[in-house]
């Protein structure tokens, strides 16, 4: 695994040198939280089962960060590195492919974690949000959702012929999913027809799982979400490995 840590550090630095990626990964969700919190507050409401709008928003926005990194940053970064010949250059060194891919995944995971921590911190400090779940359980759900979306993100990069097309596909899918999955607008507000469609998009299952675990649901209550995400991870991951190209 020689090179893993150095590469992780460099990838993280390069990510933070990209102002747009940094903004949308780290600052966008807390900003949305502040904005909607200013509008709706966090008073308990029967509409949200006795919880406030921000209590619901924080676990939901975790899905927003996951889809931003997984479907936008990761496919663009991967396809661009391939297109520029960065990956070719790595192949001419003794860097092991596994070390490369693990440090790549770890760098995107790190960015997602930073974004999520800042989101939770904002919610906690500004809106005193409630947390009724188990931290380890929420962490496991977060890792499942994140790795499933990363697998799909690598698949987008593998299928896209160029960085531009990876960007187009990733952004269109991400922006559609953001608004009909409950990641931005709560599922409760969406019309029944949209909610029916939302059952077919993977991000809805991340949001539902995160919200459930956040308020203390058991994994058994969410077997459907878990099954969909494990499916995305395994099938997406296998196809991503098959479609991955060094050049």
């Amino acid at each position: 695994m020689r090179g893993f840590w150095k590469l992780l550090l460099v990838q993280a630095k390069l990510y933070l040198r990209e102002p747009i990626a940094t903004f949308f990964t780290i600052f966008y969700a807390p900003m949305m939280l502040l904005l909607f919190g200013a509008i709706y507050g966090n008073e308990p409401s029967p509409f949200f089962g006795g919880r406030g709008a921000m209590d619901i928003a924080v676990p939901s926005y975790i899905g927003l960060i996951i889809v931003t990194v997984g479907f936008i940053s990761l496919p663009i970064g991967t396809a661009a590195a391939r297109e520029r010949g960065v990956l070719r250059r790595f192949r001419a060194t003794p860097l092991h492919p596994l070390a490369y891919i693990l440090s790549d995944i770890a760098s995107y995971l790190l960015m997602t974690v930073i974004g999520v921590l800042l989101l939770i911190l904002t919610g906690r400090v500004v809106f005193h949000i409630r947390f009724e779940g188990n931290i380890l359980s929420v962490l496991a759900g977060f890792l499942l959702g994140t790795t499933a979306f990363f697998a799909l993100g690598y698949l987008i990069a593998g299928l896209a012929p160029t960085a531009r097309s990876a960007q187009t596909v990733g952004m269109i899918l991400a922006f559609i999913m953001m608004f009909i999955s409950g990641a931005t607008i709560p599922l409760e507000v969406l019309p029944a027809k949209v909610r029916a469609i939302s059952q077919y998009i993977p991000l809805t299952h991340v949001v539902t799982l995160m919200r459930g675990l956040w308020f203390g649901d058991s994994w058994g209550q969410h077997w459907k979400e878990v099954a969909v995400l494990v499916g995305c991870l395994l099938v997406g991951g296998a196809l991503a490995v098959k479609t991955f190209r060094w050049e």
Partner: protein, 304 residues
């Protein structure tokens, strides 16, 4: 001197295209070995098979005693590679690139000293995208040398550089050999191969058509050298035709071209002109080059 690279009957096909069609050669330790030929001749495919980046369809390759396909990781620790088409992340800084690539190897040299040798010391904190073409190529050389390799591969190192940067690059490559390393390079500049390489393989359409030192290659085609000069007014060139080695004399207006062979050709022509009391100017000689060798061997000009 031992053998650094041994290639035997190498074939590589892309569909119906025979990119490399039965190539064999050896590279000796400590030499600069060049592969030269027009674009599409199969040079890059050959060098990338030797580096282990491409899998040959047929033939055997041994590099530093290793099989590039089977012992790829072991081999890549001991070689340095500059690729024809590669780049770094635009915002990666020069020192970070050296630090990163150095971390891939068990053994590495001091990156700072390397940057100084390559004239990049003041660019340590510059991002890759801010570098000029020549600076990028020097950085890629630095990356190829970071592990103190025994063997260095340079693929089209000077393509896209201006003549001055190209000459500076030649000095760098000579410096690499002086440090006891073997260099295997490809180029489509005949002049570069002639000035830089100890031995040259001329490649055309997937095959090696000739392999020797540049001097031997040029001598082998028995090409004539030319003495060119200008004389104002009328004069009689009969006496010139008698100079030893001269094969023919061509006159186009005021310009005269004397064709011939042999060491004493220029001296003979000049003293004959002086004996005749002819006032000549702008005299220069043109030696046959590898371009002429390529023309003689393939019947085509190098330049497309």
């Amino acid at each position: 001197m031992g053998i650094a690279i041994e290639v035997n009957d190498l074939h590589k096909f892309y569909g119906p295209v025979r990119a490399v069609d039965g190539v064999s050669f050896t590279v000796e330790e400590g030499e600069i070995f060049g592969m030269v030929g027009p674009n599409g001749a199969g040079k890059t495919t050959t060098i990338e098979c030797v580096e282990g980046l491409r899998r040959p369809d047929r033939g055997t390759i041994r590099v530093l005693g290793l099989d590039p396909q089977r012992d790829g990781y072991e081999l890549r620790r001991r070689i340095g590679v500059q690729l024809q088409e590669a780049a770094l992340h635009p915002r990666l800084k020069v020192w970070e690139a050296l630090d990163l690539f150095g971390s891939f190897y068990p053994r590495r040299v001091d990156g700072k000293a390397l940057l100084e040798q390559l004239g990049l010391a003041d660019k340590r904190n510059a991002a890759f995208e801010e570098l000029s073409g020549g600076q990028k190529q020097r950085l890629f050389i630095a990356l190829a040398l970071i592990n103190d390799p025994e063997l260095v591969f340079l693929d089209e190192l000077t393509t896209g550089l201006d003549p001055q940067a190209r000459r500076a690059m030649w000095d760098l490559v000579r410096g690499i050999r002086e440090r006891g390393k073997t260099v295997f390079l490809t180029t489509h500049y005949m002049e570069e191969a002639e000035r830089l390489c100890d031995r040259v393989a001329i490649m055309d359409r997937g095959k090696i058509v000739a392999l020797d030192t540049p001097e031997n290659l040029i001598r082998s085609i028995g090409a004539e050298q030319r003495v060119v000069f200008t004389v104002d007014g009328q004069w009689d060139d009969t006496l010139l035709r008698g100079v030893p080695g001269v094969t023919r004399v061509e006159r186009i207006g005021e310009r005269t071209v004397v064709y011939g062979r042999g060491e004493g050709l220029v001296g003979g022509v000049v003293s004959a002109l002086e004996r005749m009391g002819i006032r000549f100017r702008d005299l220069r000689t043109e030696q046959p080059t590898l371009e002429d060798v390529f023309l003689a061997l393939t019947g085509r000009e190098m330049r497309e």
